[in-house]
């Protein structure tokens, strides 16, 4: 009974515009003060320990920082050039290249709205010029942008892993095949559409262009290699080199060096006005970056350059908002664990003869609805502590559950009437929300089939992590 009260309070507060973090924290504190003998002092302690006591969560600020250095207009442009060189000559090639670029950028940035903004800004404009309709362009990018949270490294997965104490490394690996599969099925759908409606195709620019574009995008894409090789080691040669947290820290220093000294889109060596998104809309940047030989002092000034500070502050801000939610969600988790609430629900479900399949359908529905309203990490930290123990009781694999939750929220973000990515796309493409909804609908259907597949075929998520890291041990 109390649990219904607790969750109605959280949802009620959310709907009147209380920040997610405060809704969670306020409701949990009320609950603890009224129903248990926990003191405010120990709540404050657990707030502090949310950061100082969770080594896994330390990966979040580092991944965010790495992606902030990599999310400049320049890196997105290089990745798009590479994808157009690869698949631009197919029918509907620019759209397919857009999906391909979204997949690569997703792996760098780990955030869906950020992917839509960075890739959408450039690709939607390019597609209009090439003769596609604006609606089709927006629909493609809106869907492909959601891959951001499924393809590793994904911040949402780090959040899930730390909320449920599963291995981050395993979660990342489990996302690889579903991520590629989702991207591939979108590409196939686009290709079929393009054949049917006879959409434009580009010229094949030749292997030279592919090579040149690859060399240009190489430094950005290396970030993914550093993270993956760092976490899992070179297959057959070495074991894991870094923990995910260390890999993230190394990645953010690498991203800093690439942004400052290799690409020079920002920092002391950058040409004027190269780093802003509005510059990306306006077209290629004029002027060439300085070389390090012309300004060797940049090695030092790069650390205190306004662009560095700006990037650090932006990454810091995002870290703060996410961690504020997580810290409060940990207080909620404390309430749930104390009261044994998930266990009670699980017993009730088993008693009523409901099995894993019914349970997964319920999870699907809750997350699809929730995913429309709320930023994925926020939703996850509310739902995971409640759903996770039930799933374990029912014998569902924790990693598989994590992937189901991520795919669900991904689709929630583009489900009408209010999906988050729909809003972002309508802003980026400069078209009304309803048009984006209509444009996204056919591809949404594709992703829905994909969701059903992922939910009921665990092997898609579990095959790769089991292959690389061995079978997992589940402790009840």
């Amino acid at each position: 009974m109390e649990v219904v009260l607790l969750f109605s309070m959280i949802i009620g507060l959310l709907l009147i515009g209380v920040p997610i973090a405060v809704s969670l924290g306020f409701s949990s504190i009320m609950f603890l003060l009224v129903f248990s003998d926990t003191s405010l002092g120990s709540i404050a302690q657990s707030f502090y320990q949310a950061m100082a006591g969770h080594y896994t969560l330390l990966a979040i600020p580092f991944f965010i920082l790495a992606s902030s250095f990599m999310s400049t207009g320049g890196v997105a442009r290089r990745i798009i050039r590479f994808s157009i060189a690869c698949v631009g000559h197919l029918r509907g090639g620019l759209a397919i290249a857009g999906v391909f670029a979204c997949m690569m950028f997703a792996a760098l940035s780990g955030s869906s709205p950020a992917t839509v903004v960075a890739i959408g800004t450039i690709v939607i404009a390019a597609m209009k010029q090439a003769g596609y309709t604006k609606e089709f362009a927006a629909g493609v990018i809106c869907n492909a942008g959601t891959l951001g949270i499924l393809i590793p490294p994904s911040i949402v997965m780090v959040v899930y892993a730390s909320a449920t104490d599963v291995s981050v490394g395993r979660m990342f690996l489990a996302g690889v095949i579903p991520g590629l599969l989702a991207g591939l099925s979108l590409m196939v759908a686009i290709y079929v559409f393009a054949r049917l409606r006879n959409m434009p195709k580009g010229e094949f620019a030749g292997w030279g262009e592919i090579g040149a574009a690859f060399r240009d995008a190489f430094w950005g894409l290396m970030l993914i290699v550093i993270i993956m090789v760092g976490i899992y080691g070179v297959p057959g040669l070495t074991g894991a080199i870094f923990t995910p947290t260390e890999a993230a820290a190394v990645a953010s220093v690498y991203a800093f060096v690439v942004a400052m000294f290799v690409y020079r889109d920002i920092g002391p060596l950058a040409p004027k006005g190269a780093n802003s998104l509005s510059a990306a809309v306006a077209g290629p940047v004029e002027g060439t970056p300085k070389s390090l030989f012309q300004a060797p002092w940049a090695l030092l000034t790069a650390f205190v350059h306004p662009d560095t500070k700006h990037t650090l502050v932006e990454a810091g801000k995002l870290t703060i908002t996410l961690m504020f939610i997580i810290a409060n969600a940990l207080i909620l988790k404390h309430v749930l664990t104390d009261e044994q609430i998930p266990q009670h629900i699980a017993q009730a479900m088993l008693g009523a003869g409901l099995g894993p399949i019914t349970f997964l359908i319920v999870v699907n529905v809750i997350l699809l609805i929730g995913g429309q309203f709320m930023e994925p990490s926020g939703l996850l930290v509310i739902v995971a502590p409640l759903v996770f123990p039930i799933a374990i009781e029912l014998g569902i694999d924790p990693i598989h559950l994590g992937i189901i939750m991520v795919v669900n929220m991904e689709i929630g973000m583009i489900t009408p009437p209010v999906g988050l990515n729909l809003f972002v796309t309508s802003g980026v493409a400069g078209m009304p929300m309803m048009d984006v909804v209509k444009a996204a609908a056919p591809f949404l259907a594709v992703l829905f089939c994909f969701l059903i597949l992922v939910t009921y075929v665990p092997a898609i998520s579990l095959w790769l992590p089991t292959l690389v890291m061995g079978p997992e041990i589940i402790i009840r």
């Binding site: 709907l15 920040p19 306020f26 703060i320 908002t321 809003f423």
Partner: protein, 238 residues
């Protein structure tokens, strides 16, 4: 509903610069320290034993200090689907109620933070379960130290005669890292009250944004509009 934040007045600008610099330095030093620790371990096969604990303390400082900055910048995430559909008047009222909830939350957090921190500073915690009703005799915990962090006596030596009966600290006393709790939550309370006043004066519409990229989206949308305007202007001219 975010908009570019413009600090007001000399004090506002100074505070803004200080907050941003502090966030940048905290995050930057966390990253560099982790990076150096990794390099030390793999390349030189040695490490500072204190690095992890210091990184985690910096992490806690970054977040707890930054939450107040987040309230100031309207950066905290929330759900705006319902509030966006309300008429301006109703919207203002719900925003004020939401603000009230936040104030209560921050107040409880502040009381909890003081109660937690005070014993480590040889001070008394407050009595009362919900509201502080006075101070109660508390067992002194000022001799508690962190696990590995060096004492940095040149910086914190003055604490020893003050709270540790002139005894030398072997490691950094816990009172120092935990200080961010009362400090941070007082700042949070302050920024929330400021935000609620701004809402009451119609200078702000709410406390939340719905996703983290709102600024970027608005920037692109503005650039799009500007680009279209130029195209139209050119079309009219020709």
């Amino acid at each position: 509903m975010s908009s570019k934040f413009e600090p007001k007045g000399a004090l506002g600008r100074a505070a803004h610069a200080f907050e941003e610099t502090a966030i940048a330095i905290l995050l930057g030093s966390m990253t560099m320290l982790s990076f150096v620790a990794v390099i030390m371990r793999y390349v030189f096969n040695s490490s500072f034993i204190w690095s992890l604990e210091v990184i985690l303390i910096l992490f806690a400082w970054l977040v707890i200090f930054g939450v107040s900055y987040g309230f100031k910048m309207t950066a905290h995430l929330g759900v705006d689907v319902i509030t966006n559909t309300l008429a301006p008047r109703t919207r203002k009222i719900t925003a004020l109620i939401a603000g009230g909830v936040c104030i209560v939350y921050a107040f409880l957090l502040l009381k909890g933070s003081w109660d937690f921190w005070a014993p480590y500073a040889a001070l008394d915690r407050t009595s009362g379960r919900w509201f502080p009703t006075g101070f109660e005799q508390t067992r002194d915990q000022a001799w508690f130290v962190t696990d590995q962090v060096p004492p940095m006596r040149w910086l914190f030596g003055w604490l020893e005669p003050l709270i540790n009966q002139n005894e030398e600290y072997e490691k950094l006393p816990r009172v120092v890292p935990y200080l961010i709790l009362p400090l941070g939550s007082a700042l949070i309370l302050f920024r929330i009250i400021q935000a609620v006043i701004a809402i009451a004066r119609d200078e702000r519409t709410g406390l939340i944004v719905s996703h983290e990229a709102e600024d970027a989206v608005e920037e692109v949308a503005a650039a799009n509009r500007a680009a279209e305007a130029t195209v139209q202007a050119q079309a009219q001219r020709s």
